[in-house]
C-alpha cells in the first residue's frame, strides 16, 4: 500500500476498515488522507479518536457490572482528538453526529453517565438515518442506543417521581435496547454482505484475512439486555417475543453463537414455562392476557417503536412455522443441536480439556431438552437417532451413553440397546438398574438367555449394595433359568434349570415379600413343575398383593383347571375378563374351558366375540401407538405383505409355550416381528398380543379346533383356511390341516400334513403325538414308537404322548413298558392344565 490512493478510494478504504473494525489501519490511512486534503483535518481527528477508543476497548474489554474506569492516559488522548474534531465545527453534519456519539461513548467508558446522556440528547438518535447509511454507522447507532440504555439504567431518575414515571423510564430503557438489538442485527447482516462482496472482488490475492467479527460489549448488551429485562420483570410474553424476533433475523457468522444460545433458551422457556393452551405461534400476535406474565407488573405487550430499516428475516414460500409448543421447542432444539454438534471438540489432548468440557456441556443441555420434548410426544425412534448424534461427545460420559441406551430401548431397538448398556455398566458398575434393564431386554424379545444370565448375576453379585434391586436381581435370574428350562431338550438339564429357577424365585420372594411379581413367578415355576397346591398358595399371595394382575388371575385359572375344577377356573377367567376385556390370552383359555364345561357352542360364541374384539381393536384403533401417523391397521397391512414374504412366520405358541430352543428359526421371525411391533407401539400395553395378524390367525385356529372337536370338518377347513391365508407355512396351520384330514378319515393326507408341520417345527409335541398315533394306526409301530419317544424327550409332561406311547408299546406286545407309560400318563393327567402353564409370558 505504498502507492497513494486517490481520494475517493481512500475514503472507501477508510469506510471498509471502520465497518470491519480494522482500527489499527486507520492512523496510516488518516496520514494519507491528511496529506491529501488539508481541510479534512477534523475528520482525521475524529477517525483517530475513534480508532484509539476502539483499540482501547478491544484491549480492555468492559465487563458486566465492572466499575467505571477513571481517566486513563489513552482515554485522555481520545478525548483530545474528539474535542478537537468537535470544537472547530468544520465537520460535515454526519461526521459531527458521529463525533458526538463517540464522545458519549467515551463518557460512558469513563463512567460519566449523565454527560453521556446529555451528549445523546444533542444528537437525537431517533433522527439518524438508517437507510443508505454506511455500514459502520449502523454499528455506531446500535452502540449508541445500547449505551444510552446502559446510562439510563445507571443514572437514578432525576426526580423522586411517580411510579408512572418509572414505568415510562423502564419502557424507554427497553426500547433503547430493542432498537439497539435490531440495528445491530441489521449491521451484522450488512457487514457480512459487504465482506462477501469484497472477497469476491478482491481475490486472487489471498488478501488480508478478515478477522472474526466480534460484537463487543455494547452490541452484545444491545442484543440481549432487552429480553433479560423482560424476563426479570416477569414479562414472559414479551421476552418470548423478543427471542423470536432475534431468531427470525437471518443468521450471520457472528450471530451464530448468539442464535444457538437463544434458540436453546427459548426452547427451555417453551418447555418449562409454557403449555399447549398458553402457546401462541411466532406469526401470531401474543394474547392480551396471558398466565405467563407476572400479574403484579402491568407492562405493555407490544413494542411501541418503528425503525425505518429492519434486519432481514427469513422469508419465502412454505416457511415452516410451528403451531404448537413442542413443535417450536423441537425446531429450536434441532437448530441448536446442529450448531452444538458442529462445535464438538474431538481431540483428546489435555490442552483442549476445557474446550471439550464447554462443548460437551452446551451439547448435553440441548440433548436433555430434546429428550424432554420428544419424550413428551413419545417419539423415541427419532430421539434415539438424535442421541446417536450425541455420541461424538460421549467418550466416557455416562449420562449420554445411558440416555442413548434408554432411548434405543424405548424405541424397541433391543439388540443395540443391550450393547450400549454394556458400555454403561462399564462406566458405572455399581448401578444395579443398568444390568437389570439389560436382562429385561435379553429375556424379552431378544431371547439371549446366556447374556441375560450374566447380567442377572451381576446384580446378584452386588449383594447388599443393590438394596431394593437385589430381589429384582434374583427374580431376573430365576426368569432366565426358567426360560432355559423350557428351552432345554434334555430332561436332566430341564430339571436342573427348574431347580435353579425355583431357588432364585424363592430368594427373591423372601427378600421382597411385598412384591407380587416374586410371588407370582414362584407360583408359575411351581406350577410348571406340577406342584399344584404349592403354586396355588403363592398365586393367592400374589393376588393379595396385586388384586388385578392379569397374569396371576390367568395362572390361578389354569391351576384350577389342572385340579379339574373347570367351572371355578372359568369363573376366574370371566372375572379377569371383566377387568381385561380385550386380553386374548384369557379369551383363548376361556375357549378351552368352555369347550370342556359348557360345550362347543359357547366356545364358538367366544371365538366370534374374539373376532369382534380384534376388529374393533385394530380396525379403528390407536394410531397413537404406531409411530408415524398412519393407523395401526395400515401398518399391519404393510406388515402383512412382509409376512407373506417371510418363510417361517410363527406366533407365540399356545401349545408348547413360548419359544423353544429348537424352533429358533421360527422364533427369530417372531423376534423380528415383535421388535417391529414394539418399535411401532412403544406405548402399547405390553401384555397385549404380539402382533395383530398372529392373533387373528390364532383366533381362527382356535375356532377350527372347536369345530374339529364337534366333528365338523367343513367348517374347520374354512377356519383353517383363514389362518392359512395369513400364515401359509405356520406349523400350527399345517397341524390343524392334519387334524381336519384325520377327521375326514384321510389318514395318508393327515400324515403328510403332520410331516410338513414337523419339517417346519421339529419339536411341536402335539404334531408328534398325532403323527405317532397315525403311524400306529398304519401299523408302523417302530416308527411310531420313535416319534413318540422323541416327543416325550421334548416335553416330558405331555400326558397324551405318554398314553399314545403306551398304546404303541402295547400293540408291539411290550406290556410292561406300556403299563409304565400308562401310569405316567395317568399321573401327569391328574395335574395337567387345559393349556400349558408356559403360555403365561415370563418377563421383567
Amino acid at each position: 500500500m505504498t502507492a497513494r490512493k486517490s481520494g475517493s478510494r481512500l475514503e472507501t478504504e477508510i469506510e471498509r476498515c471502520r465497518s470491519e473494525g480494522q482500527w489499527d489501519k486507520i492512523p496510516e490511512l488518516v496520514r494519507q488522507l491528511s496529506a491529501k486534503l488539508i481541510s479534512n483535518d477534523d475528520l482525521g481527528e475524529l477517525l483517530l479518536g475513534e480508532s484509539k477508543l476502539q483499540q482501547y476497548l478491544k484491549e480492555n474489554p468492559i465487563k458486566q457490572d465492572a466499575s467505571p474506569r477513571g481517566n486513563r492516559p489513552r482515554l485522555v488522548e481520545v478525548r483530545k482528538h474528539l474535542t478537537a474534531a468537535l470544537d472547530r465545527g468544520n465537520l460535515k453534519h454526519d461526521y459531527l453526529q458521529e463525533a458526538r456519539l463517540l464522545m458519549a461513548k467515551l463518557c460512558y467508558v469513563e463512567g460519566d453517565y449523565r454527560e453521556a446522556l446529555s451528549q445523546y440528547g444533542r444528537v437525537t438518535l431517533d433522527e439518524l438515518q438508517l437507510a443508505g447509511a454506511p455500514v459502520y454507522r449502523l454499528s455506531m447507532i446500535a452502540e449508541a442506543y445500547a449505551t444510552k440504555g446502559l446510562c439510563l439504567e445507571k443514572v437514578p431518575p432525576s426526580s423522586p417521581s411517580l411510579t408512572n414515571k418509572t414505568m415510562d423510564r423502564d419502557q424507554e430503557i427497553i426500547t433503547c435496547y430493542e432498537k439497539s438489538g435490531d440495528i445491530a442485527l441489521l449491521y451484522l447482516q450488512e457487514v457480512e454482505k459487504a465482506l462477501s462482496a469484497g472477497m469476491q472482488n478482491r481475490s486472487p490475492k489471498p488478501g488480508p484475512v478478515a478477522q472474526e467479527q466480534e460484537l463487543g460489549y455494547f452490541l452484545e448488551t444491545g442484543l440481549q439486555r432487552a429480553h433479560v429485562i423482560h424476563f426479570k420483570n416477569g414479562n414472559l410474553t414479551r421476552g418470548v417475543g423478543r427471542f423470536r424476533e432475534i431468531l427470525r433475523a437471518v443468521e450471520t457468522r457472528t450471530t451464530q453463537n448468539l442464535r444457538m444460545t437463544i434458540a436453546r433458551q427459548l426452547a427451555e422457556i417453551l418447555l418449562r414455562g409454557m403449555c399447549d393452551q398458553s402457546y401462541w405461534s411466532p406469526l401470531e400476535d401474543p394474547p392480551h392476557h396471558s398466565p405467563l406474565d407476572d400479574p403484579l407488573k402491568n407492562t405493555s405487550h407490544t413494542k411501541d417503536y418503528a425503525l425505518s430499516r429492519r434486519p432481514r428475516i427469513y422469508s419465502g414460500e412454505n416457511l415452516f412455522c410451528p403451531q404448537e409448543n413442542t413443535e417450536e421447542a423441537l425446531l429450536l432444539l434441532l437448530i441448536s443441536e446442529s450448531m452444538a454438534n458442529r462445535d464438538a471438540v474431538l481431540s483428546r489432548i489435555p490442552e483442549h480439556n476445557s474446550d471439550r468440557i464447554i462443548s460437551l456441556q452446551s451439547a448435553s443441555v440441548v440433548y436433555d431438552l430434546l429428550t424432554i420434548a420428544l419424550g413428551r410426544r413419545g417419539q423415541y425412534e427419532m430421539l434415539s437417532e438424535c442421541l446417536e448424534r450425541a455420541m461424538k461427545f460421549a467418550f466416557e460420559e455416562f449420562h449420554l451413553w445411558y440416555q442413548l441406551a434408554l432411548s434405543l430401548m424405548a424405541a424397541g431397538k433391543s439388540a443395540r440397546a443391550v450393547k450400549v448398556l454394556k458400555e454403561c455398566i462399564r462406566l458405572k458398575p455399581d448401578d444395579p438398574t443398568i444390568p437389570l434393564l439389560a436382562v429385561k431386554l435379553c429375556i424379552g424379545t431378544l431371547h439371549w438367555l446366556d447374556e441375560g444370565e450374566r447380567f442377572a448375576k451381576m446384580v446378584v453379585d452386588m449383594g447388599e449394595k443393590a438394596s431394593e434391586f437385589r430381589a429384582k436381581g434374583y427374580l431376573a435370574l430365576g426368569l432366565v433359568f426358567s426360560l432355559k428350562a423350557t428351552d432345554a431338550s434334555l430332561r436332566g438339564m430341564q430339571e436342573e434349570y427348574q431347580k435353579k429357577a425355583l431357588s432364585a424365585f424363592q430368594r427373591a420372594q423372601s427378600l421382597s415379600p411385598t412384591d407380587h411379581l416374586a410371588a407370582f413367578y414362584l407360583a408359575l415355576q411351581l406350577a410348571v413343575s406340577r406342584q399344584i397346591p404349592e403354586a396355588l398358595g403363592y398365586v393367592r399371595q400374589a393376588l393379595q398383593l396385586q388384586g388385578d394382575d392379569v397374569h396371576s388371575l390367568h395362572l390361578l385359572a389354569l391351576l384350577l383347571s389342572a385340579q379339574k375344577h373347570y367351572h371355578d377356573g372359568l369363573n376366574i377367567i370371566e372375572m379377569a375378563l371383566s377387568e381385561y376385556p380385550e386380553n386374548f390370552a384369557l379369551l383363548f383359555t376361556k375357549v378351552k374351558l368352555e369347550t370342556l364345561c359348557r360345550g362347543p357352542e359357547d366356545a364358538l360364541l367366544t371365538c366370534k366375540h374374539m373376532l369382534q374384539i380384534w376388529k374393533s381393536c385394530y380396525n379403528l384403533t390407536n394410531p397413537s401407538d404406531s409411530g408415524r401417523g398412519s393407523s395401526l391397521l395400515d401398518r399391519a397391512i404393510a406388515d402383512r405383505r412382509q409376512l407373506n414374504a417371510m418363510t417361517l412366520p410363527d406366533f407365540s405358541d399356545p401349545e408348547t409355550g413360548s419359544v423353544h430352543a429348537t424352533s429358533i428359526a421360527a422364533s427369530r421371525v417372531e423376534q423380528a416381528l415383535s421388535e417391529v411391533a414394539s418399535s411401532l407401539q412403544s406405548s402399547a400395553p405390553k401384555q397385549g398380543p404380539l402382533h395383530p395378524w398372529m392373533t387373528l390367525a390364532q383366533i381362527w385356529l382356535h375356532a377350527a379346533e372347536v369345530y374339529v372337536g364337534m366333528g365338523k370338518p367343513a367348517e374347520a377347513t374354512a377356519c383353517t383356511q383363514e389362518a392359512a391365508n395369513l400364515f401359509p407355512t405356520s406349523h400350527h396351520v399345517l397341524f390343524m390341516k392334519g387334524q381336519v384330514a384325520e377327521l375326514r378319515g384321510a389318514m395318508e393326507e393327515a400324515k403328510r400334513w403332520y410331516e410338513e408341520a414337523l419339517s417346519i417345527s421339529p419339536t411341536h409335541v402335539k404334531t408328534m403325538q398325532r403323527l405317532g398315533l397315525i403311524l400306529h394306526q398304519l401299523q408302523r409301530y417302530s416308527l411310531a414308537e420313535k416319534v413318540l419317544r422323541d416327543a416325550v424327550q421334548v416335553s416330558s409332561t405331555a400326558h397324551e404322548v405318554w398314553k399314545s406311547l403306551g398304546e404303541v408299546l402295547q400293540a408291539q406286545g411290550n406290556a410292561g413298558a406300556a403299563t409304565e407309560c400308562f401310569l405316567t400318563a395317568l399321573e401327569l393327567e391328574a395335574s395337567s392344565p387345559v393349556l400349558p402353564f408356559t403360555i403365561i409370558p415370563r418377563m421383567l
Partner: protein, 653 residues
C-alpha cells in the same frame, strides 16, 4: 370440615344452577375472587366420605361440560387431587366407593376424546425438519446433515399422531385405567400455565405417593397412609414427569425435585426406559441450570447475557474443523499402499483450506466450505443410493459364468499386497464398506470392486505387478484401456457400463479426488482382468500433484502400519469437493510435459469428463451413455487394439 367451608361450598353449588347461559363467562371470571372456595373444595375431595363430594363432583363435571375454558380449567386444577383420591381408594381394595370421582374422571375423559362434532379426536403434531426452511432457519446454512435412514424418512415434515383416538369408556377396568388416567394428565399438562400453585403442589404430592407407596422409600418420605403398592405405567409416569418439570420451574422447586426423585426411583424399580429417559434428562438439566429456588414462589425462569464470541478455542479439533480432515484421513489410508513406498521427499505443501483456519477465512471461504459440505452431503446421498444397486448388480453380474473368474483373479494381488507389506491387522476386504452385511468374502470383494470402480481394481493389479517387477516404484496403477473392445463376455461389458456409471456419479462430486491418482505406465499381460475397466485413464495425469500431497499427509499423520483396505476407498470415493479442480487440472496439464508416457488426450478430456459427470448426476441414464462414449473415445489414441492395462511409471517421484 369446618362449617364455614361447608357454607362456601354450598353457596357455590347453588349459584351455578341458577345461572343463565349468558352469564357464564362473567361468572367464570368472578370465580377467581372467591378465595376460600378452592381450599374448601380441596378439603371436600380429600375427605372422601363427605356428603358434599357427590354434588361437588357433579358440579365440577357441569363446569367442564359448559365448554367455557376458564370453567374447564377450574375443574382441571383439582385433577391431581381427584386422581389421588381415586387411586388411593382403589388401592384400599374399595374400588367402587369412590363412584362419583370415578364418574367425574370418566366424564372428563369422554368429553375430551371427541372433538366438537363428536368425532374421535386425534392429537397430532408436526415433526420439524431442518431440511425444510422455517421461520428460524434456512436449510443451506445448517450444513450437511447426517444422512441416516431416519433423516431420509423425515425429509420433509411429517405429521405424527401422539395421542388418540380413544374409545369411549363407561367404566374403569384394570386394562383401561391407566390409559384413561394418562390421557387426563395429558389434558392437565396442556393447561399447566393456568394451574395454581396449590394444584401444582398437589400434582407433586400425587406423583410422590403413587410412586413410593409400599416401597422402602415410603419410610424416607415419612408418608403414612396407604402402604400398598400401586400399579403405574411408563406413560403415566412420563405425563407426571411433564407436570413436575413445569412445577420445578414455576415456584415448586423443592416439592418438584422430591417428586422427580420419587418417580425416577419407581421407574428404576419398574425398569421403565421411557420414564427414566425423560426423568434423567430433567435431572441433568437442573444440575446444569443450577435452579434458583425462589422463596416467594415466583417463576424462576431467568436468562443472563451470554458472551456471543465462540467459547471454544480455535485450534481445538472440532467436528466442524475435522470435516475436511476426515476425508483426508481416509484418503491417506487408502493411498497408503502407494504412499508408504514413496519417499516422503517429494512433498508439496498441503493445499487445504479446511479446518478452523478455513472456517475463519471469512465469508467467501465460508461459501466454499459450505459448498463443500453440500457436496459431501450429496456424495453421501449418491453413495447411499448407489449401494443397494451396487450389490444387486454385483450379485447378478458375477453370477454369470463367464466373468466369474474375474474377481477371483483380482483378489489375489489386492490381498497379497497389504498383507505382505504392512498390514499388522488385516481388515477383511470390503468390510469397512459401510457395514453392508454380506455373505461370503467373494461377494464382499466383488461388491467392493464394483463400488470402487476400476481404479481400485487397477491399483491392486498394478500393485501386484509392481511388487513382482521389483521396480521399487510406486505401485500405483491406472488402467487406460477401453472397455468394450474385447471384453470376455457381453455381461462383463454390461457390468463395466454400470460401474462406470457409478463411477461417474461419484466423480462429479469429487473431481479433485479423481485428479489425485498417481499412475505408472506398464502394460499388463492379461487384458481380461480389466475387461470392464474403462475411462479411468483421463484422470490420471491430474492426479500426480495430489498424490504428493497425500504422501505428505500420510507421513505426517498416519502411522506406517495403516491397514490397507482397498474397500475403504469406496467410502471416500465420493468425498471431494469442486474447489480445487481447476488448479489441479492446470498443474496437471503442466506436468504433462515431462511425463511423457502418459497419453496427452487425457488432459484434454478431463474438463469434459467433469462436465459429463455433472450430467450423469442429473440424469443418470444419459450420463451413463455419455460417459461410455466419452471413455471409449480415447482408445484410438492409445493405439491399443485390444483392451489392456497400461501402467505408467512415474520415476520422478
Amino acid at each position: 370440615m369446618l362449617a364455614m367451608d361447608q357454607g362456601v361450598v354450598e353457596e357455590w353449588l347453588s349459584e351455578f344452577k341458577t345461572l343463565p347461559e349468558t352469564a357464564i363467562s362473567s361468572y367464570a371470571t368472578s370465580l377467581k375472587e372467591k378465595g376460600s372456595l378452592v381450599p374448601a373444595l380441596y378439603r371436600v375431595i380429600r375427605e372422601n366420605y363427605s356428603d358434599l363430594l357427590e354434588p361437588v363432583c357433579h358440579q365440577l363435571f357441569e363446569f367442564y361440560r359448559s365448554g367455557e375454558p376458564r370453567l374447564q380449567r377450574f375443574t382441571l386444577q383439582f385433577l391431581p387431587e381427584l386422581l389421588w383420591s381415586y387411586l388411593s381408594v382403589g388401592a384400599g381394595r374399595d374400588l367402587h366407593c369412590s363412584g362419583c370421582i370415578e364418574a367425574l374422571l370418566l366424564g372428563i375423559y369422554n368429553l375430551e376424546i371427541v372433538d366438537k362434532d363428536g368425532q374421535s379426536k386425534v392429537l397430532t403434531f408436526t415433526v420439524p425438519s431442518l431440511s425444510k426452511p422455517s421461520v428460524y432457519h434456512e436449510p443451506s446454512t445448517i450444513g450437511s446433515l447426517a444422512l441416516t435412514e431416519g433423516a431420509l424418512a423425515n425429509h420433509g415434515l411429517s405429521r405424527v399422531v401422539y395421542s388418540g383416538p380413544y374409545f369411549q369408556r363407561e367404566t374403569f377396568t384394570a386394562q383401561n385405567r391407566f390409559e384413561v388416567l394418562t390421557f387426563l394428565l395429558l389434558c392437565y399438562n396442556a393447561a399447566l400455565s393456568y394451574m395454581s400453585t396449590t394444584s401444582l403442589q398437589s400434582l407433586c404430592q400425587l406423583s410422590s405417593r403413587v410412586c413410593i407407596c409400599g416401597y422402602p422409600r415410603q419410610q424416607l418420605r415419612r408418608y403414612k397412609g396407604i402402604n400398598t403398592r400401586m400399579m403405574v405405567t411408563s406413560e403415566f409416569l412420563v405425563q407426571l414427569i411433564t407436570g413436575i418439570h413445569f412445577a420445578l420451574y414455576n415456584g415448586e422447586s423443592d416439592l418438584g425435585s422430591k417428586a422427580l426423585d420419587d418417580v425416577l426411583y419407581r421407574a428404576q424399580l419398574e425398569l421403565y426406559p421411557e420414564a427414566l429417559l425423560v426423568g434423567n434428562a430433567i435431572k441433568s438439566s437442573i444440575q446444569g441450570a443450577a435452579l434458583k429456588s425462589n422463596k416467594e414462589g415466583t417463576r424462576s425462569i431467568q436468562v443472563e447475557i451470554t458472551p456471543t464470541a465462540p467459547r471454544i478455542s480455535r485450534n481445538a479439533v472440532t467436528s466442524l474443523s475435522i470435516r475436511g480432515h476426515r476425508w483426508k484421513r481416509h484418503e491417506t489410508e487408502e493411498n497408503s499402499v502407494d504412499s508408504t513406498d514413496l519417499s516422503p521427499a517429494g512433498t508439496i505443501p498441503e493445499i487445504s483450506i479446511t479446518g478452523v483456519g478455513g472456517e475463519r477465512l471469512g465469508v467467501a471461504n465460508g461459501e466454499a466450505l459450505r459448498s463443500r459440505t453440500e457436496g459431501e452431503a450429496l456424495g453421501v446421498a449418491a453413495e447411499v443410493g448407489a449401494d443397494p444397486r451396487g450389490q444387486q448388480e454385483g450379485g447378478s453380474t458375477f453370477r454369470d459364468p463367464s466373468p466369474r473368474f474375474l474377481p477371483a483373479r483380482l483378489r489375489l494381488p489386492s490381498h497379497g499386497l497389504p498383507q505382505s507389506r504392512h498390514n499388522p491387522a488385516p481388515l477383511p476386504p470390503g468390510k469397512p464398506r459401510d457395514a453392508v452385511d454380506l455373505g461370503s468374502p467373494d461377494e464382499l470383494m466383488e461388491i467392493a470392486e464394483e463400488d470402487e470402480g476400476f481404479c481400485r481394481r487397477a491399483a491392486a493389479e498394478g500393485g501386484g505387478g509392481g511388487g513382482v517387477g521389483g521396480s521399487g516404484s510406486p505401485p500405483t496403477v491406472v488402467i487406460s484401456n477401453s472397455c468394450g473392445a474385447s471384453s470376455p463376455a457381453p455381461t462383463s461389458g454390461k457390468a463395466a457400463g454400470k460401474s462406470q456409471r457409478r463411477l461417474l456419479v461419484g466423480k462429479s462430486k469429487e473431481k479433485e479426488k479423481e485428479k489425485e491418482r498417481e499412475r505408472e505406465g506398464l502394460t499388463a499381460p492379461d487384458p481380461r482382468k480389466l475387461g470392464g475397466a474403462g475411462g479411468r485413464a483421463m484422470s490420471e495425469n491430474t492426479e500426480q500433484l495430489s498424490l504428493k500431497r497425500l504422501t505428505l499427509t500420510s507421513s505426517q499423520s498416519v502411522p506406517k502400519s495403516t491397514t490397507l483396505s482397498l474397500s475403504r476407498t469406496a467410502s471416500s470415493v465420493f468425498s471431494r469437493s469442486f474447489e480445487q479442480v481447476s488448479n489441479v487440472l492446470a498443474i496437471a496439464t503442466g506436468n504433462q510435459g515431462h511425463r511423457a508416457p502418459s497419453p496427452t488426450p487425457n488432459s484434454n478430456h478431463a474438463p469434459e469428463l467433469n462436465r459429463y459427470s455433472v450430467c450423469s448426476l442429473q440424469e443418470e441414464g444419459l450420463g451413463y451413455l455419455a460417459g461410455r462414449a466419452e471413455h471409449t473415445s480415447p482408445t484410438p489414441h492409445h493405439k491399443q487394439p485390444s483392451p489392456s492395462i497400461s501402467v505408467h511409471l512415474a520415476p520422478d517421484l
